[in-house]
């Protein structure tokens, strides 16, 4: 796992004239465990997409481990090696089994499944998704998809975990499983940024931000 050092300085983003983020600044490193709250439509997902290097921004500076992030470049290597993204809508590939979905990042990182067997078993056990592994991902329930998506984000031991509403679809039991996992991963030295409406989840974080008027407060 690589150490993480992120500096975001006065980033702005607007869609067709609608200003979503405005001069947003934040610093993230291995010891960060941030929760981001905010009203629906405040721009939380937009912020996460920019942070996760899948969306560009209009103004400002973004340094990821010292690399100055530019809009037109494709940072697939960083995404693959350093970021585990848990999407609000899971984004599992339909018509593929859960096992294939979880193991997909291995193909691109050119890592053999045998080499991370221990991690795989640990994550699957923890998330209690063993019985789902050979099912088609599109037939799962929301909560099941959520847990499979989390397993996929963790499989390559990323330095930064970005979770957009990871507990939105989970019952109390599963929610605490996910919160435990995030906490545990953080304690291993990973940076965790989690978007949540849930007070319990926010309370577990070390720092709670509110996204309002395009800024993190």
């Amino acid at each position: 796992m690589k150490p993480i050092e992120i500096n975001i300085d006065k980033i702005s983003k607007s869609y067709y004239g609608q200003q979503v983020l405005k001069d947003l600044s934040v610093h993230i490193s291995n010891d960060s465990y941030y929760a981001v709250c905010g009203k629906s439509g405040a721009g939380k997902s937009t912020f996460m997409n920019i942070l996760g290097l899948i969306e560009g921004f209009d103004q400002g500076e973004y340094y990821f481990n010292g690399e100055n992030i530019k809009n037109h470049k494709d940072y697939f290597k960083i995404r693959r090696e350093s970021i585990g993204f848990i999407y609000q809508s899971y984004n599992l590939i339909p018509r593929m089994t859960c096992r294939e979905n979880i193991q997909m990042p291995l193909i691109y990182a050119n890592v053999r499944i045998e080499d991370i067997k221990q991690d795989f078993i640990r994550i699957v056990d923890k998330l209690q998704i063993e019985p789902l592994l050979d099912k088609d991902s599109s037939v799962l329930s929301g909560g099941e998809k959520q847990r499979v998506a989390i397993a996929r984000a963790l499989i390559l031991n990323p330095g930064l975990i970005i979770a957009d509403e990871p507990t939105g679809n989970l019952d109390e039991e599963n929610k605490s499983i996910v919160m435990d996992i995030l906490k545990e991963e953080h304690e291993k030295g990973r940076a965790v940024v989690v978007i949540t409406h849930d007070e319990d989840v926010a309370a577990r974080a070390e720092k709670k931000y509110v996204l309002r008027d395009g800024k993190l407060l």
Partner: protein, 394 residues
């Protein structure tokens, strides 16, 4: 590196299978495209072949010069000319008309033989595969003994059960002569059956005998059979002498011209077909790609580089196209077989499926071009997908 490529190709195979429903839609277009092209090429080949099959088989080096009994001196002049030409062989032949073989009792039906009388040793062999029995090749020869005959297939079929205990087959020529069947040649394509004014029906068969076995008979249609590299020159000389000349030389020249023309037309139509069908295929590929944009953005978001997306979709595209090409070939073979059956059973004529190497080459060039073009296009377009546009952040 190798493992990486193999893994991506494995993924591509899995995904080609997982997305088979989408690909079946795409395949319908591709199979249609390739089938139309392949069918056009092969049907055209077969049509040309069946139109010209007799002409094609005939040698343009063979010529016949016919002479009357009173034109022997002209014939000798011609033979002297032939002797002076390089690479030229000839022999004298004639025809015996209608030797009665046997009559059917109580019915006025008789079976007659039209025999071509040739020397005992002839430089050419009789052609055994087409519809006409002709002596075609100057480089080969055959010997026919005095008591031997070569008969045509339909006569052979009629008498083949009458073999003696040694397994030999004999043919009785009008009760006085018995000839041993040495071999069988192809049927003459002329009508075998004639009916005279008394209502008597005669069936004519064709055969070859050597001249020493029919010396006492009146022969007709005396001719010089010539094999030569300079047929055109011989034609001019025969015309000067006033002898009747025939050869397949001109026919063959006409045929070659015609075939060249047809190939030119074929090229134009093929290019037009490829453009029309290519556009059709393009839209199908774009459709297939639309179905996959979500998957592509997920893969990209999870750290797949563009090259791995290219590789995956290149592999998927090639798998689908290669399978479709095989299916198309099968479809076209089936279609051609149906046409063959139609010609044989319904029209009652021979129709041979004939595919030239030219067509096969062109078809596979077309296939390779379309396959590479579309799979490369498919894979390049696959990287144009904006991650954030298709990935559902919400």
């Amino acid at each position: 590196m190798m493992r990486y490529i193999l893994n991506i190709m494995k993924t591509a195979c899995r995904q080609a299978w997982n997305n088979r429903k989408n690909y079946i839609f795409l395949s319908v277009t591709i199979v249609l495209t390739f089938s139309i092209i392949a069918f056009y090429m092969t049907y055209n080949d077969s049509e040309i072949y069946n139109t010209y099959k007799y002409t094609m088989k005939e040698s343009s080096k063979i010529a016949f010069v016919q002479y009357e009994k009173n034109e022997r001196n002209k014939r000798d002049l011609l033979l002297a000319k032939l002797d002076s030409l390089e690479d030229t062989h000839y022999y004298l032949a004639s025809e015996v008309q209608g030797i009665t073989l046997f009559d059917k009792e109580d019915q006025r039906v008789s079976f007659k033989l039209m025999a071509k009388v040739v020397p005992n040793h002839v430089w050419a062999y009789y052609w055994n595969s087409g519809c006409r029995a002709e002596l075609i090749d100057g480089s080969k020869s055959f010997d026919l003994k005095n008591d031997e005959i070569i008969i045509c297939e339909s006569l052979y079929r009629l008498i083949k059960d009458q073999r003696d205990k040694n397994g030999d087959l004999f043919l009785n020529l009008s009760h006085d002569k018995k000839l041993k069947v040495a071999d069988v040649c192809a049927d003459f394509d002329a009508e075998h059956k004639t009916v005279d004014e008394n209502g008597e029906i005669s069936y004519f068969f064709y055969g070859f005998v050597s001249d020493s076995c029919v010396t006492n008979r009146e022969t007709v249609n005396d001719e010089v059979v010539i094999y030569s590299a300079s047929v055109a020159e011989i034609e001019a000389y025969a015309a000067d002498l006033g002898l009747r000349f025939s050869s397949h030389y001109n026919e063959k020249q006409d045929m070659n011209r015609e075939i060249t023309n047809l190939i030119e037309i074929k090229k134009v139509i093929l290019i037009a077909l490829m453009i029309i069908l290519g556009i059709n295929m393009l839209s199908s590929f774009l459709n297939a790609l639309n179905e996959r944009k979500y998957e592509i953005s997920i893969r990209r978001a999870l750290g797949a580089g563009k090259h791995s997306i290219v590789l995956q979709f290149l592999t998927e595209g090639l798998i689908v196209i290669v399978i479709d090409i095989l299916v198309s070939v099968a479809v076209v073979m089936m279609l051609l077989s149906c046409i063959k059956v139609y010609h044989t059973l319904v029209l009652g004529e021979e129709w041979i499926i004939h595919i030239t190497g030219y067509s096969v080459t062109i078809f596979f060039l077309c296939c390779t071009f379309l396959a590479l073009f579309f799979s490369i296009l498919f894979s390049i377009l696959s990287t144009r997908v904006e991650i954030i546009q298709y990935i559902k952040g919400e």
